[in-house]
Amino acid sequence: MPVASEAAARIGPPRRLAVDFPAAVNLVGMLGKYLGLAALFPVAVALWYGETIWPFVVAGAVTSGVGLALERLTAGARGRVGVREGFLVVAATWLLAASFAAIPYLLAGGEQLSSPIDAYFEGMSGFTTTGATVVTDYDELERSVNMWRQFTQWLGGMGIIVLAIAVLPRLRVGGRQVMESELPGPEIAQLSERIRATARSLWVLYVGLTALETLLLASLGWLGIDDAMTEFEALAHAFTTMPTGGFSTQPRSIEPFSPTAQWIIVVFMLLAGANFALMYRGFLRRRPRVFLRDEEFRLYLALAALASAALTAMLWGYGIAEGEEAVRSGVFQVVSIMTTTGYASTDFALWPSLLLLTLFALMFVGGSAGSTGGSIKVVRHLLLGKVLRREIDQTLSPEVVMPIRLNASPVDERTVRAIAAFILLYVGFWAVGSAILAIDSAITGSGLQTIDALGTAATALGNVGPGFGITGPMGSFAPLGDVSKLTLIGLMWVGRLEIVPVVVLLTRHYWRL
């Protein structure tokens, strides 16, 4: 029967895979192709200082080559990247970027970065803007490699801005629409013109703030206020402030720099932890009142101020520091940890446990939504607080209808549920990660105290950087065992992608029909 066979041909064989794998790989390949070009910057730095350029040339060539190859192999699948594929693209891109960052470390990092796991750790810490490091001997690294570390964080920050404004809201992760506009269109691959324009304007802000910080810091050197702050250091630290990264070229982080430089960095850390879309409206559109009207921003500042005051008082009370130094020390550490930057102006790992607990709690606060900061983020705390208040209210009056509001407009109930789920997942990942770290360090005898495993897992998941104990701000993650390092790599990755996109990949129905 010709009719039946025609129908059979139309029906075709059963399809197993629900996700359009080739299309996702194609997009990752395209991103990899362009990412490789980023190696040109460290090449230029190496040329300037007369250092070896080949590690970066190799890294760039390999990354672009792999990207190109992936793109070519899946050329037929172009343009079918939807929400479902988006999760995969996001997850894979960060894994790929971390590998890219690791290549120069393997080739030019010397003894301390020669293990692939260590190099990958450093690469992931860079692209997730965490700032945890396995480097112990900074002088051994060439200037170009040092600058590469800083630069990977800066690139990661750019990626996060796109992630936060274009990708995560489409994947219903993140807790709020960052821009006022709805994000149109089902295609993530061809980011619509509106999103591109938005990303571009936020990038302008990001680049502009980085340039401004570089200029301010460098001028301290030029004016003789801070001799340690050379042009190189100014750029290197601006590169890791704006993405709330935390890598430093100095073994003792920000400590060697002058108080003025530290205060400037505090201001820029605060800016980096604020919502970029809000800052765009406030600064570039000249509408400063949006800051006062934004509930999240108000809470963000209030929390930073409160914690700073508390820490300052404790520092003074314990006699660790006094006067301007106590205030600076308190404010710097609070802002650095809360925004998940991870700089330190002093070795806070040596502080009494009351102060450490304060910093530990701040690791769970995070920056604002739409910032480069990580962790749970202020807006989720804010909304969770409102949900709890409603629950209490409804205990007394079950009939009362109370929409959860953010900046006076009602928040969708689904979003509210997603936030509660996120926080539970976050705590879950932290608990499991801590357990693995604690067990592994007990087995390997790496010297990480069990209690410090909690802080170390939190610092990785929140993309903060330094932990406590041996992983403290002046310490290093190098002594940890390989299982611990792999766990931390996983936590950094999951934390940066706001957990859900990775967890979705683990569900059966993501892959199968």
């Binding site: 009939e399 009362v400 209808v401 109370m402 929409p403 509001r405 009602p410």
Partner: protein, 441 residues
């Protein structure tokens, strides 16, 4: 004047009732039975046709109209009819009825090409807000954009001796107000300084909104200002009421049975506490202390539910109840049943339309005691014989000027003030005297 009316429903027939004597009225409706009912009662021309059909409108003679009123229950019909009326009868003012506050706002912004837009919901909300503002009054109305308030009060045993039982000259009357009339049984007194207010009288007061509140507390000392209100029903009427009351910073609690509507109300009124409940459950009423509210407003779609809820909450302690009576018949039934005030949205709408249809010099009319008395808002002519007369020398002939509006500001005149040409005067009079009062001014 030739009046062309689209819609012979409840609003339409009330408007016809008010206008058919003095005007030549044509009514268009799609339903023959309604038109028949109308012709049986009034001397009007009727035409069976569709308000959205330009052909029908033309055939019914809209082109000759001096005033077009579109008052069907459907917004779209009224809008389209209003649009066609503009084309067919370009010089006739058009009035349309709407249930959407959005259209009212559009019209206020000048985006809607009609002369007057009436919303039942909004008029009902305003009526209720006036009642809430002056709880002792059995009826109130506002003039001159709310600068002048007219209220009718019953004088019972609670009334303060500062104003009752003493001559008006010696009574402690609130500033910026005037007693326009004392109604004693069937007799109407336009009071002078020697007259006395007695228990059992009803009085009509014209004054500033502040003065009206002061009168309310003089006559009902136990009742302070209403600050806490429960609204049953969060539909269009209930929401309009809540909006108006919240604007006056009155604390509003809303009870709505439909989850969806409750959610919408909760989203639009952040300061109101909205409950998703029928509100008939005694446990709920007890637990939420509904009875502690100073006033209950019942704005559900069903008159029977409004009556029941009002009675129920009264049992639980709400001292003052206002119910929406969608059916004209319900007004009397509600009042018999002990509801303090009932408001008929269609009646209120019709009244608003009739106000517009009157003499163009006359900005507004209010009717008191059915239609035994009227309060007029008239602009004085150059040729009026009272121009330049001081109020002391003004004769008292069954009418009284309570306030004048000069350059947009309300003045409550004293003996030495003089009437000027172009003043808008707020006059209280018996309905029988309206025509000569208007002529004299």
């Amino acid at each position: 004047m030739k009046v062309f009316l689209i819609g012979a429903g409840q609003v339409g027939s009330t408007v016809v009732e008010a206008l058919h004597v003095d005007h030549e009225v044509t009514v268009l409706d799609t339903e023959a039975s309604r038109l028949q009912a109308l012709t049986a009662r009034f001397d009007v021309a009727v035409y069976e046709g569709d308000g959205t059909s330009r052909k029908d409108l033309a055939a019914a003679g809209i082109g000759a109209a001096d005033l077009v009123i579109a008052c069907t229950s459907r917004d779209e019909v009224n809008l389209v009819a209003g649009m066609f009326a503009r084309r067919e009868a370009p010089r006739a003012p058009t009035v349309i009825r709407t249930s959407s506050i959005e259209y009212v706002e559009l019209w206020r912004e000048g985006q809607l090409d009609v002369d007057f837009v009436v919303s039942s919901e909004l008029e009902t909300a305003y009526a209720i807000s006036r009642i809430i503002g002056v709880p002792a009054a059995s009826q109130t109305d506002v003039f001159a954009d709310g600068q002048v308030q007219v209220g009718e009060f019953e004088i019972d045993e609670d009334a303060s001796p500062e104003v009752v039982g003493v001559s008006l000259r010696d009574a402690d009357i609130p500033q910026d107000s005037k007693v326009a009339a004392i109604i004693r049984r069937d007799e109407t007194i336009f009071p002078g300084g020697d007259d006395v207010i007695l228990h059992g009288d009803r009085i009509v007061v014209i004054g500033s909104p502040g003065a009206a509140k002061a009168w309310s507390s003089l006559l009902w000392p136990a009742g302070g200002t209403v600050r806490d209100v429960v609204v049953y029903g969060a539909g269009r009427v209930g929401s309009a009421i809540a909006r108006v009351l919240i604007d006056q910073s009155i604390n509003v609690r809303m009870i709505e049975a439909s989850r969806e509507q409750a959610r919408r109300a909760a989203e639009s009124f952040p300061s109101a506490r909205v409950f998703s409940a029928t509100g008939f459950d005694p446990d709920f009423i007890e637990r939420e202390r509904i009875g502690y509210a100073q006033a209950g407003i019942f704005a559900m779609r069903d008159d029977a539910k409004n009556l029941y809820a009002a009675s129920l909450t009264r049992v639980h302690g709400i001292p003052f109840t206002i119910a929406i009576a969608h059916e004209a018949m319900s007004v009397d039934a509600f009042e018999r049943a002990g509801i303090d005030v009932s408001v008929n949205p269609r009646g209120v709408t019709a009244e608003e339309i009739v106000r517009f249809a009157h003499d163009p010099r006359m900005q507004q009319v209010a009717m008191l005691e059915g239609n035994r008395y009227e309060v007029l808002d008239v602009t004085t002519r150059e040729s009026s014989r009272y121009i330049g007369t001081s109020f002391r020398d003004m004769p008292v002939h069954g009418a009284l000027i309570g306030a004048i509006v000069r350059d947009g500001k309300a003045i409550f005149p004293h003996g030495d003030d003089m009437l000027q040409a172009g003043d808008r005067v707020i006059v209280f009079t018996e309905s029988a005297n309206v025509s000569w009062v208007v002529e004299a001014l």
